[in-house]
């Protein structure tokens, strides 16, 4: 299996992506931003479709739109009373735009499947390096901002009381969320990227008690999911995304069951 370069590429890229989404996801759930990750992935879909339309790489289009819109969408969703309606409006607009761009570029069906459901098998070595670079930029800056980000995400009131610069932390987090959504979509597609950003951290939330434990569980769950998904996809020829979704869901419901038993 590893004799094939496309499988090497897929494993290499998936490992870094799972590492990133596993870690970023813990903060996404702590900050109550799962819905925002979902909206960003729909915006990313529009960006990828736009990229196809103008002839640049889908990942670049996705990064461009998610990064540009993340702070605005983040602001829209601050007030819980308006959150659902605003987010639904933005989601539908961008999903619509995505369909429009695909239609205009006249390549719709195969590209739509690729963007929506992912295509980790078949990415080039150059793509792999770009993904690793993006993942590394998220992970390195996160290790620098870790303590402030952890405080702000797990105890916003305390962070405020201690005079942390919460605005700055919030904006930084939206930017790395945008990058994480874009790279996560390369494996499972924009439609299902929240699988990687919310299910492993939810498992971690049920089973861990400290932040390092949660990060380890989340990354572990994400890694097992993508690795096993690739292997099963290789031997069955079924979509990798299906296996990843099924495995992560199994982990999630398993963790929920353990959590219920403990209570």
């Amino acid at each position: 299996m590893f004799a094939y370069e496309f499988m090497q590429n897929a494993f290499l890229a998936s490992t870094f992506i799972a590492l990133t989404t596993g870690i970023v996801g813990v903060f996404v759930t702590a900050r109550g931003m799962s819905f925002l990750a979902h909206t960003l992935s729909e915006i990313g879909f529009a960006g990828a479709a736009f990229a196809v339309f103008v002839g640049i790489r889908p990942l670049d289009g996705m990064l461009l739109t998610t990064i540009l819109s993340s702070v605005t969408v983040g602001k829209l969703s601050v007030r819980a009373s308006r959150r659902e309606a605003s987010i639904s409006a933005v989601s539908s607009l961008f999903t619509g735009l995505g369909i429009l761009f695909l239609a205009l570029s006249a390549k719709s069906s195969s590209y739509a499947t690729t963007i929506l459901f992912g295509s980790i098998i078949g990415i080039s070595r150059a793509d792999v390096w770009q993904l690793i670079g993006l993942a590394a930029s998220v992970l390195v800056t996160m290790s620098l901002a870790y303590r402030a980000l952890a405080f702000d995400s797990f105890d916003a009131v305390g962070a405020q009381a201690q005079g942390l610069r919460r605005n700055l932390i919030g904006i930084y987090f939206l930017l790395i969320l945008a990058v994480s959504v874009s790279i996560g979509a390369q494996i499972v597609g924009s439609l299902l990227v929240f699988i990687l950003l919310t299910l492993p951290p939810s498992v971690a939330k049920y089973l861990g008690r400290t932040l390092p434990q949660m990060l380890a569980i989340s990354v572990g769950t994400a890694l097992i999911g993508v690795w096993a998904g690739l292997v099963l996809g290789y031997y069955t020829n079924w979509p990798v995304t299906f296996f990843i979704a099924a495995i992560e869901c199994a982990f999630y419901f398993g963790a929920l069951l353990i959590h219920r038993r403990r209570d």
Binding site: L144, D155, V157
Partner: protein, 233 residues
């Protein structure tokens, strides 16, 4: 005599249509324990925000001692029953002397000491979301103590607690006050606690303010909302 830790001099402040204080002056001596009392809406929280520098006085000054290190325990915390971190991990969030993600042995020792000081050693690995009201308050307190403050503001820390837990928490605060020479400003509605655990009280009313020893407190002259008979929870 030592310089006071905090001096508020002829402070006035108000919002557009609602003046709160016109000429507020008081000092807090080092190691003192003061209750800040007053009816709802009289400006207790605003005064704290002024002291913390989140709001600026309209006239007058607030002078802090050069070595003042403020610790603030806010009134409301959004900790739901599903909150995932243990008490220990929650308290540790405020440990930010180093930037790197891992905590040094020195930091762990410091954390152990604060947890022990707050009487949480046996319960430190419990989930915060499942902890009792008293344990939660102690964890909030421990978290604020991690930065080694010499001035601690407790905003309605006892409001949601039963009487035994209130007493336990205030005994702890009193001990910290003595052992660490910690100056405490305790915002409360509870005259009984103010009298039992603090040396002096600062009463804010729409008509003005007074700073007196708690031994001189006369409940009958307090605003109706604060009188003990109405404080049954």
């Amino acid at each position: 005599m030592d310089t006071p830790l905090l001096t508020v001099d002829h402070l006035s402040f108000g919002f557009h249509d609602r003046p709160l204080y016109s000429d507020l002056s008081f000092t807090l001596a080092r190691g003192s324990m003061t209750s800040l009392i007053g009816a709802n809406g009289v400006g207790k929280t605003t005064l704290i925000r002024l002291i913390m520098g989140q709001l600026a006085p309209q006239t007058g000054t607030i002078t802090q001692a050069a070595d003042m290190r403020l610790g603030y325990v806010p009134q409301f915390r959004n900790i739901d029953p599903e909150y995932p971190l243990s008490l220990r991990s929650f308290i540790q969030l405020n440990q930010r002397r180093h930037w790197h993600p891992w905590h040094t042995t020195g930091e762990q020792r410091e954390l152990d000491a604060v947890i022990a000081e707050c009487g949480l050693t046996a319960r430190q690995h419990q989930l915060l979301g499942k902890a009792s009201g008293g344990e939660k308050q102690k964890a909030y307190l421990a978290q604020a103590l991690l930065t080694r403050p010499n001035f601690l503001i407790l905003d309605e820390a006892t409001a949601s607690l039963d009487i035994n837990t209130k007493t336990e928490l205030m005994t702890l605060v009193r001990e910290l006050n003595r052992q660490r020479d910690l100056t405490v400003l305790f915002v409360t509605h509870d005259l009984e606690l103010a009298r039992a655990y603090t040396d002096q009280y600062l009463l804010l009313t729409p008509a003005g303010h007074e700073l007196r020893a708690t031994t001189e407190m006369d409940a009958a002259h307090m605003p109706a909302e604060l009188r003990p008979t109405e404080e049954v929870r």
